[in-house]
């Protein structure tokens, strides 16, 4: 099988993050993606600034509360995923020790 002389392989990590975000953003109904750090500060977002800040702050508090709820009920348990379904859309949050990934989707799109 013949091979062509090459295209240079792009550096992976950064490229992957951007591409992955674009890919998710392009999926059906996805309205926005925000990555927030443990303090609630947005790191990466596909929404406008004011929405991002608003979502980040509010969701951060929500996740903290949800997490403490889970932990209070059973200290060995921990929050792994949070989905908030509302009339207009759905917010999915994948929390971690240091970061959250927030995806806002309108499922009927």
């Amino acid at each position: 099988i013949a091979t062509f002389l090459g295209r240079k392989l792009q550096p992976r990590p950064q490229n992957e993050v951007e591409e992955t975000l674009k890919r998710i953003q392009g999926q059906k109904g996805v309205q926005g993606i925000i990555i927030v750090n443990a303090e609630g500060i947005p790191i990466k977002t596909t929404l406008d600034n004011s929405s991002t800040v608003q979502y980040a702050g509010l969701i951060h508090q929500l996740v903290m509360k949800a997490r403490s709820t889970v932990r209070d009920i059973d200290p060995q348990n921990d929050l792994t995923f949070l989905r908030v379904r509302s009339k207009k859309n759905e917010i999915m949050i994948a929390p971690d020790k240091d970061y959250f990934l927030i995806v806002i989707q309108n499922p009927s799109d």
Binding site: T3, E39, I43
Partner: protein
């Protein structure tokens, strides 16, 4: 925690000599003696450390019931800045703030302080005991104002590149994608939908219907799908192998991707790399899924004892516990490996026909349940039956019929009332698919409906008379021999695909996976067509009889082959 009314503090009272009620500071110049109170409160209204510094006009309110909240800008502000301060007496209902502080049961003042417009305003009195709590005032305010604060661009970049973040990202993205892809509105109301439902059913009933396509832009683009297989353990997983990507020579030459049918996300679950083009993938993935590395855990070495030519086929034979890996390559060598020891084949054999010509094998298949005998297709268009052990080890018989290289070969493996395991089908560059029986060295039947190279055929694992074939024009055909032997019962041309390389049935026989030359894996639901009925077996037996009868005598029987 709510604002402490004095009454609520009752339980605490025994602790101080001053009968600790919560006292409010009021700027009425009363006897300054009660300054000492400042240090009392146990649970902490940590009244200021500097209780006595300022000769201020504040005093404990001896009548605790009166909620007189005074502006205490002086006290509150002395830590922060020496701004202008006003003392304003205002009767004010405290804002109820729910906060979670560790020690005290007083709301955190920082919240208040941030809302204050500088030194204005009537803060709660509560603010005052707390202000010293964050000694580092500046940060206290800031940390509460995390939202407006932004990370600098460099900080962001740094985070985005950090190992921690990437691990989190990869994992979370996987989870979120699965969640995203779950359609299925939990609120859906079926009552309004009966009609549509029926329509959906009907559609699935007859034909091939498109299910989905697996394609990964990064990995599978420009690669030819060389082999597909379904996982026996997790029926929703399938693995596809791809050969080298011409456009990106720096990428690994061969990769295998594991796709998950159950979750609808469109990215592969795992990716594996390999140094050379992966030509075929057996049911046992040579890469251990548990270790998260991307390179093969075990690999057979390139040695003269093993294969020096491309390995075209891999098959696992035997039972769950005692099994062997059989590989065949284009140099005519067949090796059998034990999975525990892949450094050397257990046995190897040269496949030569008539003791002279090595067979360039392009396809191999084992009849159901047989671990010794198998059939191989070759580049010259011949099909041979061979056996691994026994007196006639090696090539036994030759089946002539095809005029071009044999591209795919599949043995009948649907188990039912009648045994058809002597049947196999082959596909070839000569545009035909032929049906054979081990017992005859000429084909039983030839299917001539294609107009291009036929690249692969595969029997359905459940239906005795059903098989699928794919050709170079992007066509996927399903033949039901009980139905019609002249034309396929169902056929679909996959749009956007060029040539289809591989076809494999899912273990349940309801879906077919097709790989194309662009690196895409298409999954098709087969629907009703795939479900066998008990009489299908006897029907097929009759069909076979008819086929043989119709074969005509143009092709004489030839020697009846002994099952080698």
């Amino acid at each position: 925690m709510y604002l402490k009314r004095p009454t609520a503090v009752q339980p605490l009272q025994l602790l101080t000599w001053d009968t600790c009620y919560f006292h409010y500071l009021v700027p009425t110049p009363m006897s300054p003696s009660s300054q000492s109170v400042s240090t009392t409160s146990d649970a902490g209204s940590q009244e200021s450390v500097d209780g006595g510094t300022v000769g201020r006009t504040l005093q404990w309110d001896t009548d605790p019931s009166a909620l007189q909240l005074q502006a205490d800008s002086e006290l509150g502000r002395r830590m922060h800045r020496l701004g202008a301060s006003k003392i304003v007496q205002i009767d004010f209902v405290p804002k109820e703030l729910v906060t979670y502080t560790k020690e005290t049961q007083t709301p955190s003042a920082a919240h208040q302080s941030e809302e204050e417009e500088e030194d204005e305003e009537s803060s709660e009195l509560k603010a005052s005991p707390q202000t010293d709590q964050p000694e580092e005032e500046g940060e206290a305010e800031d940390s509460k104002e995390a939202h407006p604060r932004e990370l600098t661009e460099e900080e962001r970049e740094q985070i985005l590149h950090s190992e921690d973040f990437l691990v989190f990202f990869e994992r979370s993205v996987s989870v979120v994608e699965r969640a995203l892809a779950e359609e299925g509105d939990i609120f859906f109301d079926y009552s309004g939908r009966d009609l549509e439902d029926k329509e959906g059913d009907m559609q699935g009933g007859s034909n091939l219907s498109f299910n989905r396509v697996f394609h990964d832009d990064h990995w599978s683009k420009h690669r030819v799908v060389t082999c597909l297989d379904w996982s026996p353990q997790y029926p929703e997983l399938m693995v596809a192998s791809y050969n080298s990507n011409e456009d990106a020579p720096h990428e690994p030459d061969g990769i295998a991707l594991v796709w998950n049918m159950k979750f609808k996300k469109t990215t592969p679950e795992y990716t594996f790399h390999c140094q050379s083009s992966v030509m075929s993938v057996g049911q046992i993935v040579l890469w251990d899924n548990r270790s998260h590395r991307r390179t093969p855990v075990q690999r057979t070495p390139l040695s003269a004892a093993a294969h020096t030519h491309p390995v075209y086929c891999v098959n696992v034979v035997g039972t769950q516990n005692a099994n062997n890996l059989i590989t065949v390559s284009t140099d005519g060598k067949m090796c059998s490996w034990s999975l525990d020891m892949l450094s050397q084949p257990q046995e190897s054999m040269e496949l030569v026909y008539n003791k002279s010509k090595p067979v360039a094998v392009t396809g191999m298949a084992f009849p159901a349940g047989d671990v010794n005998n198998y059939v191989v297709g070759s580049e010259e268009g011949m099909v041979y039956s061979a056996s691994r052990h026994g007196s006639k080890a090696g090539i036994a018989e030759m089946f002539e019929g095809h005029q071009g290289p044999v591209t795919g070969i599949s043995c009948h493996n649907a188990v039912g009332t009648v045994d058809f395991s002597h049947l196999f089908i082959t596909s070839s560059f000569d545009w035909t698919v032929k049906l054979w029986s081990i017992k005859h060295n000429k084909p039983l039947y030839s299917f001539e409906d294609n107009a291009d190279y036929v690249y692969d055929v595969s029997w359905s694992p459940v239906h005795p008379a059903l098989f699928a074939s794919v050709d170079g024009m992007g066509r996927l055909d399903l033949w039901n021999l009980n139905n019609d032997t002249e034309v396929p019962t169902a056929s679909v041309t996959i749009e956007g695909a060029c040539a289809l390389n591989r076809v494999r049935w899912a273990s349940g026989g309801r879906e077919v996976a097709v790989g194309d030359s662009e690196g895409r894996v298409w999954i098709y639901d087969v629907g009703e067509l795939a479900v066998p009925h008990p009489e299908d077996w006897s029907h097929f037996a009759r069909t076979l009889v008819e086929i043989r009868a119709n074969r005509g005598d143009g092709e004489e029987e030839g020697a009846v082959e002994l099952p080698a």
